[in-house]
Symmetry: C2
Subunit: 159 residues, 2 copies
């Protein structure tokens, strides 16, 4: 076998250089616009909003702070589960804080991808800490999904 | 600026080496088990199967050949759309061949990721060509989803 020599070819060159490239890509650089609704919207209208925006998860906000997340899976479970989706508000079926995995805009895209994988979610709300009525709230400013990661993957490999 | 010299440091080292690494990873290496149902299963039972298998899309087969694909989005649209999901068979709502994006096990994972992105789907059935009753059919042997891509992304970057 040919001896492996040189600074860049350490035996794991792909991984190390890729890691560097990905660590330099921040959540802010590739995040999408979030779809946000209020707590009192009916489940039916929230589903319609999801289709209109062609997104896989929506974020529920109250007094400007993140209150919950609802995925297509949550909606489907409730739509077939006998819930009156015209009357029940989205707040009744959402996953609530503090059980929501979130990410900050300055985190690396690798950290975001790890959270998506370990929490087994389709997307993460991108949030900023803000003070509202003397309380710390999370303001939703974006969304990172498996679609964003897959697109970045393709772009990095094709460049 | 320091002159860029050497075989590996061409100015785009991340991209080129990553591309190489990803091109060496085949669909077969990271595909998941597919969830497969028959055409006559009711939409309701197909949804239940989807939840039991905790998957985002299921593949519909007829006489061993791939006939259709149904996603969580398709199910949700029909569940709220007045369809009697207990009576209607999954064949009525599925996306049919030849309108299904598929991938072969020996294709690279980059090709799979590109198809997922360009066709805007959550997953691709991994198929093999087989002859059944003197007709060429596609046998479903796996599944590649955005989740597989996201996990690979994390693994490659962390190694």
């Amino acid at each position: 076998a040919r001896p492996k020599v040189g600074y860049f070819y350490t035996g794991k060159p792909h991984a190390n250089l890729l890691a560097q490239s990905v660590k330099n890509t921040k959540v802010r650089d590739i995040m999408s616009l979030p779809t946000v609704v209020t707590e009192d919207m009916s489940v039916y209208n929230a589903i319609v909003t999801m289709f209109l925006e062609d997104t896989g998860s929506i974020y529920v906000v109250a007094k400007e702070g993140l209150a919950g997340v609802v995925s297509r899976k949550d909606f489907l479970k409730n739509a077939i589960g006998g819930v009156d989706i015209n009357k029940v508000p989205v707040a009744m079926i959402m996953t609530r804080m503090p059980n929501i995995a979130t990410v900050y805009p300055e985190e690396s895209i690798l950290e975001a991808a790890e959270k998506i994988t370990s929490h087994e979610v389709d997307s993460l709300p991108v949030v900023e800490k803000v003070m509202i009525d003397h309380k710390a709230k999370l303001k939703v400013i974006g969304k990172i999904s498996k679609s964003n990661i897959t697109r970045l993957f393709v772009e990095l490999c094709k460049e």
